[in-house]
């Protein structure tokens, strides 16, 4: 649910990075944080365990610039990927405007990807959202590893509805901003339609 503030002349939207454990959601945010001008970003917050696994969420506020005199601000969140944190994952999805599904391209993570995308669909439905109606993009991460599935295979499994998808290596930043821009664009387009809520 975006927030339009006429007084401050700004619009705030919430983006959530979803995906199985260790697929690179936090790494996406870290790369965005490192490569964004200081004036366009706030502090990045990571609620993580001692072993740097996301416990609750990561949070990064970003300003993208102005549209028709309105500042556009995006709040980026990640969910904890590990299966047993499902209760927390549901909470992060509240009020979401756009979703990035970050898939781990390694063949051995196929099942984890499928389970996670199914979990995303279920948790969204619980909040009254449909994944098919929400601004949604898919990222195939870790393309630099040797044991990856082909993009065609991944597409068939994870992206049957053919939403915009991107190959990425979040560690080095490949595809990270393409993914972000794509989902941000979809969110703004949805706002334009007035169908957001």
């Amino acid at each position: 649910m975006s927030f339009i503030n006429y007084m401050a002349r700004e619009i705030n939207c919430k983006l959530v990075y979803y995906g199985p454990g260790l697929c690179g959601k936090t790494t996406n945010l870290q790369y965005i944080y490192e490569r964004t001008n200081p004036e366009a970003k706030g502090k990045m917050i990571s609620l993580a365990t001692e072993t740097e696994r996301t416990l609750f969420f990561d949070f990064l506020p970003l300003s993208l610039g102005e549209i028709r005199g309105f500042k556009t601000r995006f709040h980026l969140y990640t969910v904890p990927g590990q299966v047993f944190y499902d209760a927390s994952r549901k909470l992060i999805l509240k009020g979401v405007d756009g979703v990035v599904f970050c898939a781990d391209s390694q063949i051995e993570r196929t099942e984890a990807n499928l389970e996670s995308v199914e979990n995303l669909r279920t948790n969204l439905a619980e909040q009254g959202y449909s994944l098919d109606k929400l601004p949604y993009v898919v990222q195939y991460n870790k393309r630099d590893l040797p044991n990856v599935a082909s993009v065609e295979e991944l597409r068939q499994m994870i992206n049957p509805t053919s939403v915009p998808d991107f190959e990425a290596v979040a560690r080095t930043g490949v595809g990270v901003f393409d993914t972000l821009k794509a989902v941000a664009k979809l969110v703004l387009t949805e706002l334009k339609k007035g169908g957001n809520g």
Binding site: Y6, M7, K14, H75, K94, G95, G128, L188, K192, N196
Partner: protein, 160 residues
């Protein structure tokens, strides 16, 4: 639609800001702010230059969401009030009308009793303002200012 679109107009913003400004004085608070349940900062007052209100807003919403999750498991509706006591700073968090979150940060110059008392009054006023606001948003004709933007506007935002 899951939730109505959150929109803030000048009239209601000024009313909210008046309540928040007064609460800072009446409760001897350091900082008072209002956040919606999704973590968007709505209004803030007090010594806000020395705190990161954006981060606090997001964490407060996370906190309320987590507490709400616990309440649900215990078959409670909500835990509407939370209080965190630190060595120097204390935080009082109040859910207002199950819609927005009122946060008061205070130190030894105030007390929990005083904060509670003032928060109670402010909550009632805020609840009333937000109810009016919500009605206004749901009225037909309250179009999004984004209805008129073009694809080109959106593209321009992403031109490096």
């Amino acid at each position: 639609m899951v939730n109505p679109q959150m929109v803030m107009y000048e009239e209601e913003f000024n009313q909210i800001q008046t309540v928040v400004d007064r609460l800072v004085r009446d409760a001897n608070a350091k900082v008072v702010f209002i956040v919606d349940k999704n973590g968007q900062l709505i209004s803030a007052a007090g010594d806000i230059d020395n705190v990161d209100t954006t981060s606090l807003a997001s964490l407060t919403a996370g906190n309320i969401a987590a507490t709400g999750g616990m309440a649900k498991l215990l078959k409670e509706n909500e835990f509407a009030t939370q209080f965190h006591e630190g060595e120097k700073a204390n935080i009082h968090i109040q859910l207002v009308g199950n819609r927005v979150i009122l946060v008061v940060i205070f130190d030894s110059r105030s007390s929990l009793g005083l904060v509670r008392l003032r928060v109670k009054k402010a909550s009632e006023e805020l609840n009333h303002i937000f109810e009016t606001l919500l009605k206004k948003v749901q009225e037909p004709g309250a179009d999004s200012p984004f209805a008129e933007i073009t694809d080109e506007d959106i593209d321009n935002l992403f031109n490096d």
